[in-house]
Every structure is written in C-alpha cells, then in structure tokens.
C-alpha cells in the first residue's frame, strides 16, 4: 500500500517498460475509476476498516451504557439502534467486505491471473458499498432513528420501525447485489483464469476457501433479499407474509432469514480458515498437513451449513423431530472443523516454528476460535439452548468466533501480506504489542459474558438486574481496551506501512535463506507487487508454487513486467 500514497500509481522500483502503454489516471481518479484488482482490494480494505471503526464505536456505546445498571447515556430506543446497527455494520460493512478485499488482492496473485475476471464489475461491487454504507450510517439521522429490530430484523418488530427501516432494507439489497457480483467475479476468476498447471487441487487454500465462500454467497444472498423484500411489502403494500391475521407467519421470516443467516456466519469464517491455512505452514516451515482433507472439510462445512439453520430457532416451538434434526446436523459440523484444527496442529508438529505477528495471530485464532466453537456446540444442544438462547452466552459465543475468529485471521493475513502490498515491513514489536494487547483485552471483554449468559442475562437489554453488574463492568473496561488496541494498530502499524515507512521488504520476507517458509505465487513477484502482474500466464513448476518462466505466450514480444525469476 505504499502504492496507495504513491501518486504515480506504480509500485516503487518498477522499471516497467510495459506500463507505459497505459494511461493510468492519477490522483482520485485512480481510485474512483479503478479497474486494477490491487487498487480495488485496497479500497475494500480501507472501507471495511473504516466501517469496523464505526461499528466499534457503536459497540462502545453499548458497552458504556451497560457499564452500570440504570440508564446513564442513552435511552432504550437508541440502545436498540446501537445494537442493531453494530451487528449490521460489523457483519455487512466490516467483516464481509474485508474478506473481499483480501480476495481481490490475493486471488489473482495466488493463481497467476492478470486481474479479476471482470475488472469493471469488480469496481462496481466496491462502489455499491458506498451508497449502502452511507444509508446505514445515515439512518441514525432519519426521523425515528436507525432501525432497532436487531441485526436479524425479525418481523413483526420490523413492521413497527420508522422510515430508516426502508433505507436499511434498500441498503441491504445493494449490499447483496454487491456480494453477488463480487462472488461471481471470484468464482469465474478462480475457475477460468488459473495459470496453466494450477489445477484445482494445487490451489492455495485461501483460494479454495473463497471459491466455496463465493458459492455460499450466491446461494444465500438472494434469499436474504427475498426475505427483506417481503418485509418491505408487508410494511407498505399490505401483504401479509409475516402477519398471522392475514394467514402469514412471523416464524416463516425466521426460517428464511436463517437459511441465509447460518451460511452467512460461515461466509465470515471460511476465508479466515483459508488465511490461517496459509500462515501456519509458512511459519512452521513445513507444508500444510492434509491438504486434500482440508479442502474436503471446507466443502463439508459449507454443505452442512445449509441444513442447520433452525438451531437459531430452538425456542420458537418447533416439533421435537425438527429440533432433533437440527441439533444433530449442527453438532456434525464439529467433525469437519475438528479435522481442520487437527491438520493445523499437525502442520505445526515437527516444524521449525517462529512466531512473527502473523503466526501469533494464527495461533491465537486457533486457540480462541476453538473456545467459541465449543460454546457453539453447547448451544447446539437444544435442551441447553433453551436456557441460553438470547442470553449473553450467545453474544460471547459469536464474538469468540467472529472477533477472535474472523478478525484475528484478518490481522494474521494483514501482517502476512502487508510486505507484499506496500513493500515495507511492519514494525515487529508493534505487531506483537497489538497481538498481546488485543488478546488480553478481548478475553476480558467477552469471557465474562459466558457467566452472564449462564446466569440468564438476556441480550439486547439496555438495563439489567443488579446481580449482573460486576461482570458487565469488567466487559466494558475490556471493550475500551480492545478498541484502543485497534486504534494503536491503525496509527502505529497500518499508517506507517501505507506511508512506506519501515524497512524495505524483500521479495520473500518470510523465507529462510535455505528457501523454507512461505510458498505460493504471490511470493514470486517483487515487493511491493507491481501494478500489473501475470499479464500472460506464467509457466509453473509441478507444485504450482513457483514460476519457471514468466512468458509462456510465444506471441508476446515485449518483456512481461513484474515477474522476477525465482532464484532457485
């Protein structure tokens, strides 16, 4: 991302004769009119970090209100708005676009493609986020305030919301369209643009994880669009989909929503699995253990995710057979996830490990995510869920898998790839501070929520009985500390890298002199990655991790940029 602030639009140090053919716009046009996957990836990442900050500030609003019993800062309406918008913005504005940003940057590099399959549509997917984001953020200023029906937008509560609900629904439509276009782009890129020799079963796992995620997205985003469209017509056109007085059913909304919603949570974790699967082998200096079963595990998780949705609805009063089915199916997901955890550990086993920041975050991910996974399993037991559903235990569960899961994996990915993006190394000490600070603050924030949930504290509560006071106070302190850690991360790690301050990164920052370490085509191009890479497909070695010859297209005469011959 030194390229970010470099107004030539070309990666530093590039004597790329070829680039002269292109009149790249400079200044703001470079970003607004972008068709380059790296630029668009950067845009995605910056946008989602901004939304993460905004969602985080909303979370701090929640936590500040809950610091003590009694209403001190916000009224209950505003509290519900904070909760709802925190959930929506984090899920749709922060985590999902951030992973798309990673996909944009890394997939073409990792499979040896020149760019994404549809470069203009790629930019469209990004720019759609802006109106949607403006709508979501702006809804706070509409009459009646932001939507306050929870991020799940359950009917019939949504029918009582003010005009901002419609803005929210349209924003979600747009976000859905963006996701669908983005996913189609990713699928096509992966299926059609791999360099010769990069067979499906040689693809890096991050690419695999995104291929599967993209399928989940195109399967479920339209379903969400359908659900909220019915909400919209129920609100304004007098249909009665969710109104029993007209023969509809509020529970039907929940079924349709969770048919989307459960795959959605895996949409937020599979790319994280992919990143971790890249980072762990690199720092263990050992190939990923059980590549094939990792791929099968990813696919099984994705397939199973379609038949477990009603575990969010154990208290709606389903027939007992239904509950049993969804309980069993949900618990089954522990099996492929177990395979993944075991394979990562087997990868570390007998390796030669070092613990730079990416590895710290990856190991932190495995450790803390598993706690979240186990609480998920406990929630999956329907009889226990009768006690825990809609309590802070659930809140604890999903922050363990989302924050310590998805977010940590993204931090791991950021530290791992930032030398390639910007051409400079981040400051290792600061990275380590960021990790330990986040890890400790995270657990202070969310661990006590397990106790609150077990003791029965309901979620989405603006005020609570006295007995819950102490753990809430601890969680609030932790939340502010965690937030500050992210501020530190942005100003002391991200910004210096974007400004190009720091040690110049070598082409393969993670490799030992003997060549052991990170593998993959992204390390075959210089740091920072040139503006254009792999404009013609490179010739790969048998493992598809090394470029043997950058010019396999005989009809091309001019030298192709960016591909530096790998010194073997």
């Amino acid at each position: 991302m030194s390229a970010v602030l470099d107004n030539h639009g070309h990666a530093a140090g590039g004597e790329h004769a070829h680039d002269e053919h292109h009149a790249h716009p400079h200044g703001w046009r470079r970003w607004v009119y972008a068709t380059n996957h790296k630029d668009i990836g950067t845009l995605y990442l910056l946008f989602s970090f901004f939304m993460f900050m905004f969602g985080g500030v909303l979370a701090l609003g929640i936590r500040a209100e809950l610091f003590q019993p009694g209403l001190q800062l916000v009224n209950p309406e505003l509290f519900n708005q904070l909760t709802t918008m925190h959930g929506l913005i984090m899920v749709f504005g922060a985590i999902m676009p951030a992973f798309v940003g990673f996909a944009n940057w890394m997939i073409p590099l990792q499979i040896g493609a020149s760019d994404m399959a549809f470069a203009r549509m790629n930019n469209f997917s990004f720019w759609l986020l802006i109106p949607a984001g403006v709508m979501l953020v702006g809804s706070f200023f509409m009459p009646g305030g932001a939507p306050a029906a929870g991020w799940t937008l359950y009917a019939p509560l949504t029918l009582q919301m003010g005009p901002s609900m419609d803005a929210g629904i349209f924003a979600m439509h747009i976000l859905g369209a963006s996701s669908i276009m983005g996913s189609i782009n990713i699928i096509v890129t992966i299926l059609n643009m791999r360099a010769p020799g990069m067979t499906l079963m040689k693809m890096p796992l991050f690419v695999w994880s995104w291929l599967i995620t993209a399928y989940l997205l195109i399967a479920v985003m339209p379903v969400l669009a359908g659900a909220i469209t019915m909400t919209l017509t129920d609100r304004h056109l007098g249909t009665t989909f969710f109104n029993p007085a007209g023969g509809g059913d509020p529970v039907m909304y929940q079924h349709i929503f969770w048919f989307f919603g459960h795959p959605e949570v895996y949409i937020m974790i599979l790319p994280a699995f992919g990143i971790v699967s890249q980072v762990v082998p690199a720092f263990a200096r050992k190939r990923l253990f059980g590549y094939a079963s990792m791929v099968y595990a990813l696919s099984s998780i994705a397939i199973l995710s379609f038949i477990v949705w009603a575990h969010h609805m154990f208290t709606t009063g389903m027939p007992v057979t239904g509950q049993l089915f969804f309980m069993y199916a949900t618990m089954l997901i522990a099996v492929p996830t177990a395979v993944k955890i075991f394979n990562w550990i087997a990868t570390m086993w007998q390796g030669s490990m070092t613990f730079e920041t990416p590895m710290l975050f990856a190991v932190g991910f495995i450790f803390v995510f598993t706690i979240g996974g186990f609480t998920g399993l406990i929630l999956a037991m329907a009889p226990i869920d009768l006690l825990l559903q809609d309590t802070y235990y659930v809140v604890a569960h999903f922050h363990y898998v989302l924050v310590a899961g998805s977010l940590y994996a993204m931090f791991a990915g950021f530290y791992y790839w930032v030398p390639k993006w910007t051409g400079v190394m981040y400051d290792e000490t600061r990275g380590k501070i960021h990790f330990w600070w986040s890890l400790i603050a995270f657990n202070i924030t969310f661990f006590p929520m397990h106790f609150l949930g077990l003791a029965g504290m309901p979620r989405r509560y603006a005020d609570y009985p006295m007995q819950f006071a102490d753990f809430n106070a601890i969680a609030t302190v932790g939340a502010f500390a965690f937030g500050l850690a992210q501020v530190y991360f942005f100003f002391w790690v991200v910004l210096p890298c974007m400004r190009g301050r720091g040690v110049k990164a070598p082409q393969r920052p993670w490799n030992d002199p003997d060549g052991k370490g990170a593998e993959g085509l992204e390390w075959e191009v210089p740091s920072p990655a040139p503006f254009h890479t792999f404009e013609v497909p490179p010739k790969l070695d048998a493992t598809a991790t090394r470029v043997l010859d950058a010019r396999v297209m005989p009809e091309r005469h001019e030298p192709v940029t960016g591909i530096v011959h790998a010194p073997r």
Binding site: P69, G70, L71, N75, P76, N80, G144, G145, A148, A149, G150, Y154, P156, L157, Q160, G162, P244, P250, V251, R285, L288, G290, A292, T315, T316, G317, V320, L332, V335, A338, V339, F342, N343, W349, G351, S352, M353, I366, T370, I378, A382, P383, I384, L386, L387, Q389, D390, T391, F451, L454, A455, G456, P458, R460, D463, Y464, P465, M466, Q467, A469
Partner: protein, 363 residues
C-alpha cells in the same frame, strides 16, 4: 446487593439452581458438555503447545517433511464423530422429556404485550382468573434515573405488580402467544423458555419442586421496553394456592365493572389517571408531551377531536409504534381516554363511556 433467591446471584458463574427435574437435567448436561469440552480442549492444545515449545527454530528444530496421512485423517474424522454422537444421546433424552406438554394439571395462557405479560388461567384449579403483570413502575423510574447502584434493590427490574401464581409439584402448562411482536417467556430456574408469537400459540411446561419466588425476563427483542417486562412466578403450596385462587375469584367478582354504567367526568378521569400512569406514561410521559418519535398527547389533534371514535380506534387497534390496548377493559379504555381528553392543556370536557368503547370493538 445480595443474591436474589429464584433469580440471579451476584457474580453467578453457572446456571440457576434448578427447581424442576428438567432444569436439573439441563444443568447435568451442561456440566457434561463443559467437562468433555474442557478435556478435549486441554488434550488438543497440550499437543499444540508442546509442539510450539519443542519444535521451534530458536531451539534449532529442523522441519520434518511429512504432510499427509490418510490413516490419521480417517482416525481424526471418526473419533470426533463418535464423540458428538455420545454427546447427542443424553441431549435427545432431555429434549424429548422437555417437550412433552401432555397431561397438565394447570394450563395458563401467557400473552406478551408491549411491554407486559397477561396471564389467563385456562384449565385446572384457578381457571377463569386473568390479570396483567407489569414491571413495578418505581423500578422503571429508577432505571431512567440512572444514578447510584447502591440504592437499587435486589429485585431491581424483576419486581412486578401481579406475579404469576402456581401450585408446587403440579404440572403447569404455559401456552404462549403475543399481541403485537414476538416476546419470549422464560424462567431459568425452571429450564423453560418459549417464544410468544403473535397469532400463534406455542406451549411449554414445568413442574416446580420448590415453593418460592422465581424470576425470568422477556428474552426476545420486542421494542424499546424489552428490558422491562420481567416474569415473576410465585410457587405456592397446594393449600396456599387454593386459598389464593379463592381470594382472587372474590376480588375479580368485586372488580367487575358494569359496562353500561354512565360515568361522571371527574370519577372516570380520576380512574383514567391511574391507568395512564401504569400503562401510557412510559412512552407518552407523565406530562403527555411524548419524547422523540413518541407523539405528544397534550394538544394532539386526535385527542382534541370531537369525534371520540378516533381515539378509541387507536387504543383498540394501535397504530405504527403505538401498540393496541384491546386487552384493557372497556371501562379502563374509556377512563384513560377521558383522562387524556381533559388533562394538561386538553380541556375538551368530553367524556367517553364504556359503552362507546364497546360499540367500537371489532370495528
């Protein structure tokens, strides 16, 4: 603060003390899961940390070369599979028991309103009783005041005006439904939670083995006062329960209003003021000025309108965020409208009679 018996304890770490067999079994299941998970967790991560410790480059460890083994993969697919099956078996048993709502001794309908619970005793001893259960209004004010933790009582936000009363050791079936949006009726000590869905009935049951007070809350986001619709269940011995039922039936008979009675403004407005304070002031405020999106009643054109049916309609059917108040008696609705039409700066002099309300019901 002290622990609240039947409710949460201070810094409570685990589930509530069980008062029913189902809750006992749930607690057992939870322990079982917690222990197995912890054991697996420790096993898995002791391997990882051992490896992290031993197989480090700083210790001079050289990487091995293996990266595949079908045998190992099969083993560690099958073992977790067996473990989850072993976990699912006891869960199935408890779940099936928890869902069996047949042969109840007492059946009570719990209706969720924004934001209170209505209880109707449908079957068994006490059938015919019916009342609303609302958070104690002083607690709601305490919440608004924010303020000092020290002056909040142990049952803060859990105290209601009319608790649900049930007999001990009897199977009580709770039928849930809702009037406006989804709520959820749950009492942790009984191991019970059931969404209350508008337009549909669902059921759940419990058989409390202890007498005493038990507390729960509304567990499904239901709008702004979601945090303020607690559940208080008073479990009485059989004798006390019988006595309570007799007492309630007498009171109900006494409370019956004659729907054809013609009221004087001062009487009905005085009655309306109480109803207003209990039901309306939470949103519209005691001064009738509303707040934020909540409409002011003071000076409201609808309230001032000479056509009384406009106000009556809104109360009966709700409008937008304003819930319907059909559940109140005709006299109560008439009273509260009469009050608002004459309180604050509204000096219309209009009186709404119970018969006016009755005439508009169902229209």
């Amino acid at each position: 603060v002290q622990d609240l018996p039947g409710g949460p304890g201070v810094r409570q770490l685990n589930l509530h003390a069980a008062a029913t067999r189902i809750a006992t079994e749930q607690a057992w299941l939870h322990w079982f899961m917690l222990i197995t998970s912890t054991v697996i967790f420790l096993m898995v991560f002791s391997v990882m940390f051992y490896s992290i410790w031993k197989h480090r480059r700083s210790k001079g460890h050289k990487p091995a070369n293996f990266h595949e083994s079908v045998t190992v993969e099969v083993i560690w697919t099958i073992i977790p599979f067996i473990i989850v099956i072993l976990m699912a078996l006891p869960a199935t048993k408890v779940l099936v028991a928890a869902k069996d709502t047949s042969n109840a001794d007492v059946t009570i309908k719990a209706t969720g309103y924004q934001w209170k619970w209505g209880y109707d005793y449908l079957n068994g001893e006490g059938a015919g009783l019916s009342f609303l259960s609302t958070l104690d209004s002083t607690h709601r004010e305490m919440s608004n005041d924010g303020g000092n933790a020290a002056d909040k009582p142990d049952n803060y936000l859990l105290k209601v005006d009319n608790p649900l009363v049930v007999p001990v050791n009897k199977k009580v079936r709770i039928i849930t439904t809702a009037n406006d949006v989804i709520h959820a009726w749950g009492v942790p000590a009984f191991g019970v939670k059931q969404d209350a869905i508008p337009g549909f009935v669902r059921d759940t049951w419990f058989r409390s083995e202890k007498v005493g007070d038990f507390y729960g809350q509304c567990y499904e986001l239901c709008g702004k006062e979601h945090a303020y619709m607690p559940i208080h269940v008073k479990v009485l011995s059989q004798q006390d329960y019988t006595a309570w039922v007799a007492d309630q039936q007498k009171q109900m008979a006494a409370r019956q209003d004659d729907p054809n009675k013609v009221w004087q403004l001062t009487d009905i407005a005085a009655r309306g003021e109480k109803i207003y304070a209990a039901n309306c002031a939470a949103c519209h405020q005691a001064n009738g000025k509303g707040a934020g999106p909540i409409k002011a009643l003071d000076g409201s054109p609808i309230v001032l309108d000479a056509d009384k049916t406009k106000s009556i309609h809104i109360l009966l059917n709700g409008r937008g965020a304003m819930p319907a108040w059909r559940q109140l008696s005709d006299t109560d609705i008439a009273a509260v409208i009469s009050y608002t039409k004459n309180a604050w700066s509204n000096k219309t002099g209009q009186v709404v009679q119970p018969s006016d309300v009755l005439a508009q019901r169902g229209k």
